[in-house]
Symmetry: none
Subunit: 601 residues, 2 copies
């Protein structure tokens, strides 16, 4: 997954390209590069590592060229290196491209081009594109792009410059995002809105199979055949300030602290004496024979939570499947299926592909997204938004808890539509409303979690265990820890420990156990005691009234309906991961190998 | 699987028979029995349960007879009981036999014998042999044996005594082991070397279709036609414990090596041009609205495999849930539910509790067990048996692959009952039949896996990745590794890697990737390349035709239907875990913290 930018105008292009790449660094930071179009030839500069390295390189000279393209890379093919960095250029340095996406059939194209005497300098899939363009280009770049994109299998957002037309940027897109914008004197594009927002608040989201021609002050969108398409820009009410750290050392800390507020925002006008969700009022639950929950990573854990509630309340079979498995699996989706997609960015490639497949089969589709006008939200029948605001830290915190909150409301709404009477409905609704205060009170427990996190200082491993809904929380707790602190953390069903994983427990091993679900708490306590017998150092997160003398470290969540206990428990687990990472000196916001939004398979 | 012994000499036979049975108890311990040839008649003593019970019975008197046969039983047909115990005798108590193996066509032989007025006392397949011998015996036992064995379909190792020749033991063998030995004053035989080793170290392993005549101090081997065969004994250099492990250093190695045989036994009389599973013929699939697969640990992985096949073939919602979660979950089980329980021991506490709960709700219940008359098999409506024989090593190997084999047959049978046409049915059936040979060929790849396992020597972690059915295999591969080598191994959906776990990959991290499912192999290869870009040391287990230049260590499984690829892949992963544990000096058979059968929550 990468981020790309492009600019053409009556002023120097580099400032836009660099500020844009900076805003897009959340999409990857293995290497970065730019091409600037100069009448003397195309100037290309690249650097391995973070954007800072490229900036240093570029600071050595003055670059006043008025058109260019830029790229920040998250390696998918080939190691992060200078040669594998974008932009890629053709042999006589007359065409330069940046690409975001994956070309699946690059090997066969590469072999074909090699037979035509093309020489490859990188291990990337992207390099085939520039040589293929070179092969087909005869002075008409749109003609060449049409030809080339017809050969490409996979996904791409593509920006192309040529020496023949130094003031023109050519753009093409399929399954990777591309946002266009312009001023009176310039036109530009990038992979995401924040890269454009300092220049314009009116944006065009290019659609799949479309192309565009950018010239100073002008944008022309074309369809697959090259016919002009009339597109109106939309206004984005985006607040750039929101992306600042607001006094916190890291974005993750800021985002953890924002949770009471963003949960409140997410619940705003959603809840009175019942759930207000007019978007779903027309959903005929009696026609629904199966529910599928589809998502990736943290959003998949949120979906597991929703699945649990659904199984408690609805008599419809409900299945939660990782999107990467779902899209290649044989699920009997049809017009009687309700498919629910959860994605913070709304751009997650596997989730998006699964959504498209379900639409084709005429399923009812609901999306839960955090980003307005994202690809997933544009395609789903209905999108319900978490109001978490921009999440910059790669490890999701506020997006996850707002997903849990919104999904609890959605499942209650589905139960109401299915005319199911939910046990303890009033208590549940009361506790949902009180979530912002409950979460606020959890933030005060940070010192305690910081102390517990110090247990991991010398540890390489951690094991999370829980039953029923606690299993969802331990999955997320373990993911958070491994994402940012590189502690090898894993989550197990407490009852499955004895069937193998307990072999890993030795003197001093840290076990994080959850017992917030009172009806199975005593079973989990038994499992915990078995790990203590093998020397485990156990931290227990528990509901009031759950008791064990043998566990040295215990922390209690406030009284709350057990179906909502995931939320306060998750705050503790976020703090645990955060402080473990900080103690170990890890980069909390930009963990190695990870990108914020996974827009490739 | 059973164990048999026989002795004829100038000294009492009983001491040899009993010490031999003791050494063979690993082959089964449901019941035991002996026949001793006395001029007054054949004396037969049996006892249900372990050998100790028989010894107590025999201690009541002194038995000085100089010829006899003995048996320790692992029930396959008929519950463990006195009547079903061996030896079996004819009506006038002049012939007694012990049998190890399975007679596939015993039903039709039994019907024929019943028409000849023969009365049967047991539910065993073995009893037909003694009556058939009685029918054909006219004073020449070799002639009778030739006739009888020509009728038997299946496997047998057979010892026969007659009152007519009190000092002679007749032996016949096909596909079940039979080891012969002698001293100057005695001759004897047994199912395995350990039973002989205290008496001689020179042994003869009888070959298929051969017969033998034992007299004190003499052994005569005959071919199928009754012609004498000249056989030279071989010297066995190993000690007793090693002998019990059949020359293998550990039980796990022995059990891995047994897989071709036990899979063959499991498939015996189950498969012709369709699946033979009369136990399920009365199951009304049209009444089934939901299927639940319930199990723990390794058996849970086998159930995930069955779930996958079920989703491909059946249009009924199917869910696989760990037993510890199922029993406390809110699953709408009723008389329209089919619940399938998998447990090697048949005693797993959580699985048993879940079974009882499902029975109470009037669900249809099927068990897959390896131990006859176990608690689960007694309670389930129907039990289908894996014929893995006793599994001694705590980490399951042959029990798992026989579960996979039997579950594949069960799911095919359910598809047939549901009148579903299975795509590529003939190919699938062909490949199921060929599993024993396929697995045999995998055993030859041990050296390669041993080399790969050495990569873990300095490693604390390992990551297993795969998609679709490969995900089941990586779950089991990771469990095996952590169970016996204490390497912190975990399995991830390949497509989920980028959503967090890839943060754990660093220079030299060992990643075991599976790509046996061709339709998603290229996606997995992309994910693998992402880990390589971060320094991972990848071992790829792949199907023929799957290709990547970038992966240094690749091993190919034979051409096989993708739905069966789990089986050969699992053999490799077993070997990988085994050799990793051996290199690290771990106790392979009895890993720390684990027990063979988990009979508590």
């Amino acid at each position: 997954m990468c981020g790309i930018t492009a600019f053409t105008g009556q002023e120097p292009a580099l400032p836009f390209l660099l500020q844009g790449l900076e805003k897009l660094e959340y999409r990857g930071y293995d290497s970065a590069g730019v091409s600037l179009v100069d009448p003397e030839g195309i100037i290309t500069k690249k650097a391995k590592g973070k954007l800072e390295a490229l900036k240093e390189e570029l600071n050595k000279e003055m670059y006043l060229q008025q058109a260019g393209i830029g790229h920040t890379r998250w390696a998918t093919h080939g190691i992060p290196s200078h040669l594998n960095s974008h932009p890629h250029i053709n042999a006589d340095n007359t065409i330069s491209i940046v690409h975001n996406g994956i070309i699946e059939n690059y090997q066969s194209i590469k072999e074909g081009l090699e037979m035509q005497e093309y020489t490859f300098h990188s291990q990337t899939d992207s390099e085939v594109i520039v040589h293929l363009l070179d092969y087909y280009y005869d002075g008409d770049m749109i003609k060449a792009l049409k030809k080339v994109t017809s050969y490409l299998e996979g996904s791409y957002a593509l920006c192309v410059t040529t020496l023949d037309e130094p003031d023109t940027i050519y753009v093409a897109k399929k399954e990777s995002p591309m946002i266009l914008g312009k001023t009176d004197t310039a036109a530009f594009c990038a992979s995401d809105i924040p890269a454009l927002i300092a220049y314009t608040k009116e944006i065009i989201a290019l659609e799949d199979q479309q192309m565009a021609i950018l010239k100073p002050g002008k944008i022309q969108v074309l369809d697959q055949e090259g016919n002009k398409v009339d597109v109106q820009p939309v206004f984005v009410p985006y607040d750039l300030e929101a992306a600042q750290k607001n006094g916190y050392e890291t974005f993750m800390e800021k985002e953890i602290a924002e949770q009471p507020f963003v949960i409140k925002e997410t619940l705003r006008s959603r809840i009175e004496d019942h759930i207000l969700m007019p978007e779903l009022d027309d959903l005929a639950m009696e026609d629904i024979h199966a529910i599928y929950m589809i998502a990736c990573g943290t959003a998949y854990h949120a979906s597991l939570y929703a699945q649990y509630l659904g199984r408690e309340w609805l008599s419809i079979p409900i299945q939660c499947v990782p999107a990467s498995e779902f899209r290649y699996g044989n699920y009997p989706v049809d017009e009687h299926s309700l498919c629910l997609f959860v994605s913070q960015s709304g751009e997650t490639a596997d989730t998006l592909a699964a959504l498209k497949a379900c639409k084709k089969k005429n399923a009812k589709t609901i999306a839960v997204c955090n980003v307005l006008d994202s690809s997933i939200s544009r395609i789903a029948d209905t999108t319900l938004y978490t109001c978490a605001g921009p999440e910059i830290a790669v490890a999701s915190t506020k997006a996850y808890t707002t997903q849990l909150t919104l999904l609890a409301c959605i499942m209650l709404k589905l139960a109401e539509l299915a005319k199911v009477e939910v046990n303890g409905y009033d208590q549940l609704l009361h506790d949902v409303k009180a979530l912002p205060e409950t979460i606020e009170s959890m933030l005060g427990m940070e010192e305690q979690m910081k102390e517990y996190a110090s247990f991991l200082k010398e540890q390489h491993d951690a094991y999370f265990i829980g039953r029923q809904l606690d299993y969802v929380s331990v999955l997320e707790g373990a993911l958070k820890l491994k994402e940012i602190s590189y502690v090898h953390a894993d989550a197990y069903y407490a009852g499955e420990l004895k069937h193998g994983p307990i072999a890993l427990i030795e003197e001093g091993t840290v076990v994080i156990a959850l017992a917030t679900q009172k009806d199975v708490a005593s079973k989990t306590i038994s499992n915990i005691e078995e790990t203590i017998a093998r020397g485990a150092n156990v931290i227990l997160i528990k509901a009031k009234g759950v008791h064990s003398d043998k566990i040295a470290h215990q922390i209690e969540i406030p009284d709350i309906h057990p179906y909502l206990a995931c939320l306060p428990a998750t705050i503790l687990l976020q703090q645990f991961a955060l402080w473990s990472a900080k103690e170990k000196g890890c980069n909390v916001d930009q963990p190695r190998n990870l990108a914020k939004s996974v827009t490739v398979e």
